[in-house]
């Protein structure tokens, strides 16, 4: 199995399954904190998707996209936590 095939048939379905789970938590999630964590998890899954796709299509430029999402997603989660702390 080549790395491209593994990314397309192994990593990406697994990531898609976890994205479905995270979305269910996002929709159900009793408290706001649950939803914030679910959004953070979706961001991490998104990074995984971009990295897997970069490997599958052999495009190193996409790794920078994953890096940018990682840096900005961190800010989003921190801001969420700050507002939850202030509101509650």
């Amino acid at each position: 199995m080549t790395i491209e095939a593994f990314m397309l048939w192994g990593a990406m379905p697994a990531l898609a399954a976890s994205a479905v789970c995270a979305t269910i938590r996002l929709l159900k999630g009793p408290s706001l904190a649950d939803r914030a964590v679910a959004v953070d998890l979706l961001g991490a899954i998104c990074i995984g998707f971009v990295a897997a796709f970069a490997l599958a299509v052999d495009e190193p430029m996409l790794v920078d996209v994953a890096l940018a999402i990682a840096l900005i997603g961190f800010l989003g989660t921190v801001a969420f936590a700050r507002y939850i702390e202030r509101g509650a």
């Binding site: 920078d64 961190f74 921190v78 700050r82």
Partner: protein
């Protein structure tokens, strides 16, 4: 609401983010990137600092007033346009130096324009962000 964990993480992440933003700015002519995204990523670095240690610390880290950055950026972008006029070509025509600078690569007026966009975007987003966080 000071958090030691967040403050320490911010101190590690902020330089990384700034380096990444300059990297995006420098390679913007030949690959995805450029002044706009670079400026936004740099603004994220200062946003993290303002969330972790307060707006006053972030302002001190920036040294200059973000409104001044806006003005300097716009002036740089405008000034880069006259490089083409000076060479007898239409306004904003790119002029490239023949020499290669190590690390940066080829330099020319498009790079000056991009640096101007970078500073303007950084100034605008930080002016809004600092004003919104200082409100409450």
């Amino acid at each position: 609401m000071f958090s030691l964990i967040l403050s320490t993480t911010a101190r590690a992440i902020m330089p990384l983010t700034l380096v990444f933003s300059v990297y995006l700015l420098m390679r913007g002519h030949n690959a995805p990137g450029g002044g706009f995204v670079g400026g936004l990523i740099a603004a994220v670095a200062f946003a993290i600092a303002s969330l972790a240690d307060g707006v006053a610390t972030a302002r001190r880290a920036l040294v200059v007033d973000p409104r001044r950055l806006m003005a300097v950026g716009l002036a740089l972008a405008l000034a880069s346009g006259f490089g083409g006029v000076a060479a007898g070509q239409p306004f904003l025509t790119g002029q490239w130096a023949e020499v290669m600078v190590p690390v940066v690569g080829k330099i020319g007026t498009p790079l000056v324009f991009d640096v101007g966009v970078y500073l303007a975007v950084l100034g605008v987003s930080l002016t809004m962000l600092f004003a919104l966080s200082e409100e409450d």
